[in-house]
């Protein structure tokens, strides 16, 4: 499998930035960059990244299935991830998730028919200090409230 020259250059730099014999350390960044370019961590990407990092495809799959930022299927243009772990839950994360689900008309790991939105209830995204938190693609939205969520979804709807 080949990637764009830019990505290949990035991978080359990445592999050089770890000590010898520690190629596997490049696994997560490589998967994220590959996902950005390919659109999802496909089976082909798993095999290729495994080969480049010197691990087995199963070991790549362990990582992909663990992290909510890595996806085996293509997501909507805006991938809305609502944290419902303990800190966010105590501050209304579960309500936010239900609200998003109602507004978008989709459930956990589903995508809207127009491909614009996908929704996921995720484990801790490391933003407990500003709970409840929502992540859309690579952007974090802190101290969310039902009103802020409505505004956020409406603004995403408007972007062409």
């Amino acid at each position: 499998m080949t990637f764009s020259p830019d990505l290949e250059a990035r991978f080359a730099r990445l592999l050089e930035s770890y000590p010898p014999g520690r190629r596997r350390s490049a696994l997560i960044p490589m998967l994220m960059y590959a996902q950005d370019e390919v659109g999802a961590v496909t089976g082909e990407v798993v095999e290729e990244v495994a080969r480049r990092c010197g691990v087995t495809p199963l070991q790549v799959d362990e990582v992909v299935s663990y992290y909510s930022m890595l996806h085996r299927q293509p997501q909507g243009k805006y991938h809305v991830q609502v944290c419902t772990n303990i800190s966010c839950l105590l501050r209304g994360g579960d309500k936010l998730y239900e609200q998003a689900s109602r507004k978008l008309g989709i459930g956990h790991k589903e995508t809207t028919a127009d491909g614009r939105f996908s929704l996921e209830e995720v484990e801790c995204i490391g933003a407990c200090s500003w709970a409840p938190a929502i992540q859309v693609n690579y952007d974090f939205h802190h101290d969310m409230t039902p009103e802020k969520l409505d505004k956020l979804l409406a603004s995403l709807e408007k972007i062409q």
């Binding site: 087995t56 495809p57 199963l58 070991q59 799959d61 362990e62 299935s65 663990y66 992290y67 484990e123």
Partner: protein, 695 residues
């Protein structure tokens, strides 16, 4: 040696080497710190949190399984906080764990049950519905029941680290984490079942044993595996005169807990529907069942007649029969039948090694040496395929002691994952490649050289001369193929050899010569199948076969005598390192007799004076008479392995031409392998040796 570290555990002083973990230091005091994920010999995981202990001046409870001892450390394992932590951990582990212990295979020998009994609370605060996932079948021998899994990672680590197969992983996160196989929905691996045995709960279960019995209903018989030559002890679980499982959880034997698919599951040949259970005698061109008296009478009559008129009698021994049987058979042939024509299918050139060593018994490696040696050289053998215990031992040695392993093989081998040098050579080029390693090997403090059946005759001599030239202590293992291939040589199942590698005064025909002799009168084949690959020239020869199945050879026989397998008899076998171990009978199969018993009955029918044909007196005779076999009886009686040190007489003629390695894989093993449904049921069967090119 570094100075010992002093610490206190539960108020009792203990000293331990630096680097010792608190969980192990406590063991020295007889204090048990409970743990699921901690497993001796595997990497640390600290996943189960069961081993939490209080350490003075530490703000929180610490995991004893990852905590190295420190000078002056004060550890407490019996405080209310620790007891509460254990209770909480068990409560958490049991949130989704089904309470199906009454039908779970592990019930009665389950670590979670034991821990809950000893450290748990009787009730749970969780009222939520348990997460349930249907069970999955990973392979014919491996089943996975996700809800029972406590995510200790033992299976993942034994497969990745112990075997180097990397077939298991943990996918997903949190409550839905589960063990996953390497090929999507199924496994592609050695199918050894180590993951099942190491599982502390009933999450991984065996396709062979599951739902067959409760562990306490079985009788557990520790005996030696009857397949390859490594001599693993397998503990057979027997109920209702059937073997239900094999494992070695008590770590007795040279193999510790290790077993491959053969030792753990392939005992099923024994219950194969085609197993012979009655003697057969040819009449009217067909083999028909007769009584033992008739069959033995017919054989005795023809043997006596052939001996009386000085006919040519050939005897073929087995790679699987016991030392006692082999010894008695050669005595029967040489003294009873007056023939020097006795041989077996040779799978490695043991006599060549013993000749080259000229009596240096200390130059023969043991299985234990493979785990301790600083360096090893593997020549012309794919250990993971043909000698799985040795592959495991060397790998463990590399993991634990950084052993330096060199390989000289025809194709890729599993040792490539960690070997310091791996040379690929065409057959015949091995010695040159080995010699090219001299500068590196000279720098090693010691070396064990293992060589396969492709190295024979003069090549063995050259290899030993090379080892001698290195100027370091070198030990050798001549790899042979089957459970008692070594014992067949040791007991003189060769025309040129008497027991103990003494020269035979009147050597008769070799196996190939027997088959080719047009005037052979009698061919007596015990536990072998020479006619699978060759034909018998003497069309009129009277053929007697002792075997478990109607093999190609048995189908040509005039009399077939149904024999007992190694799992049905007592006696001793010798592994490829020359270590003698004792067999224990696990069950009886109706209608069959052990080969030794058959020899005894035949001797009586022929009125021969060959001594008692029972394992114990014959072994005493071997100990007294066979050079190198004066092993301590107590070691064997207590289930140990005692290494023999035979010295080959220098005048023994080299016969490298007779050595024909079997080229079996991890999933095949001569006749017995063909009758094991388990071996042929796995996807990986028949396995590959260098893509079809056997070593």
């Amino acid at each position: 040696m570094a100075e010992l570290v002093h610490l206190t555990i539960d108020g009792r002083p203990v000293e331990a080497a630096p680097g010792t973990l608190v969980i192990d230091a406590a063991k020295k005091l007889g204090i048990e710190i409970p743990a699921f994920c901690y497993y001796e010999g595997l990497s640390l995981q600290a996943a189960c949190r069961m081993c939490l202990v209080e350490v003075e001046r530490a703000p929180k409870l610490l995991t004893a399984c990852t905590l190295p001892v420190a000078e002056g450390m004060v550890v407490r394992t019996a405080t209310p906080a620790v007891a509460q932590a254990r209770k909480s951990m068990l409560e958490l582990l049991l949130t989704n764990h089904p309470l199906d212990c009454p039908v779970c295979d592990k019930g009665g020998e389950c670590e979670l049950q034991d821990m809950a009994f000893r450290y748990g609370v009787g009730e749970s605060r969780f009222a939520e519905t348990k997460v349930h996932v249907p069970e999955k079948q990973f392979s014919p021998v491996v089943f996975f029941d996700a809800p029972r899994c406590i995510l200790c990672y033992r299976c993942v680590r034994i497969c990745n680290e112990g075997l180097g197969v990397n077939a298991l992983g943990v996918v997903n996160r949190g409550a839905v984490s589960e063990i996953a196989p390497n090929r999507g929905d199924h496994l592609e691996c050695d199918e050894c079942g180590a993951c099942i045995d190491i599982c502390p709960v009933g999450a991984l279960t065996s396709g062979i044993y599951r739902y067959h019995a409760r562990p306490w209903e079985m009788e557990h018989v520790g005996t030696i595996c009857t397949f390859c030559s490594n001599g693993c002890k397998t503990t057979l679980g027997v109920r209702g005169n059937r073997i239900l499982r094999g494992n070695n959880r008590d770590r007795s034997g040279v193999n510790g807990e290790f077993l491959c698919i053969k030792g753990r599951y392939a005992f099923d040949f024994l219950h194969h529907p085609e197993r012979l259970q009655s003697p057969l005698v040819r009449s009217g061109g067909e083999l028909r069942p007769v009584s033992w008296v008739q069959a033995l009478g017919a054989v005795a009559e023809r043997f006596l007649e052939a001996r009386a008129r000085g006919g040519r009698i050939g005897v073929v021994g087995s790679n699987r029969t016991t030392n006692e049987e082999n010894y008695f058979l050669q005595k029967f042939a040489r003294q009873g039948l007056g023939t020097g024509s006795i041989d077996h299918r040779r799978t490695g050139d043991v006599p060549a090694l013993l000749s080259a060593l000229a009596g240096r018994g200390d130059a023969l490696a043991t299985v234990a040496d493979l785990y301790t040696t600083k360096a090893a050289l593997v020549v012309a053998s794919d250990l993971a395929q043909q000698h799985p215990l040795f592959a495991f031992q060397l790998r463990a040695n590399w993991r634990h002691h950084h052993a330096r392993v060199y390989t000289v093989t025809r194709g890729p081998v599993r040792e490539d994952q960690y070997s310091v040098q791996a040379l690929r050579v065409p057959p015949g080029g091995e010695l040159e490649a080995v010699e090219s390693l001299a500068p590196a090997l000279r720098k090693e403090p010691e070396l064990v050289i293992l060589f396969g059946g492709g190295i024979r005759g003069a090549a063995v001599q050259r290899l030993v001369a090379f080892g001698d030239s290195l100027g370091i202590p070198v030990k050798y293992v001549c790899l042979v193929d089957y459970s008692n291939s070594r014992g067949a040589f040791d007991m003189g199942l060769a025309p040129e050899l008497l027991p103990g590698y003494q020269p035979a005064p009147n050597p008769g025909l070799t196996l190939a010569e027997m088959l080719a002799a047009p005037d052979l009168d009698v061919l007596w084949v015990v536990g072998a199948n020479p006619l699978r690959e060759a034909s018998l020239a003497a069309e009129k020869a009277f053929v007697v076969v002792q075997d478990l199945f109607l093999t190609e050879t048995a189908a040509r026989a005039d009399v077939v005598l149904p024999a007992a397998s190694a799992y049905e008899k007592a006696g001793t076998v010798t592994n490829t390192c020359g270590e003698v171990q004792r067999l224990r009978p696990a069950l009886k199969v109706m209608g069959v007799k052990s080969d030794l018993e058959i020899f005894g009955l035949l001797a009586r029918a022929m009125r021969l004076e060959l001594g008692g044909a029972r394992p114990e007196p014959v072994f005493e005779e071997i100990r007294a008479n066979v050079p190198g076999y004066g092993v301590p009886a107590a070691v064997l009686a207590t289930g140990g392995a005692a290494q023999t040190c035979p010295a080959a007489a220098p005048e023994i003629p080299p016969r490298p031409d007779l050595v024909r390695p079997a080229s079996d894989t991890l999933f095949t093993s001569g006749t017995l392998g063909r009758y094991s449904k388990v071996l042929s049921s796995v996807l990986e069967f028949p396995g590959e040796l260098y893509k079809g090119a056997g070593e």
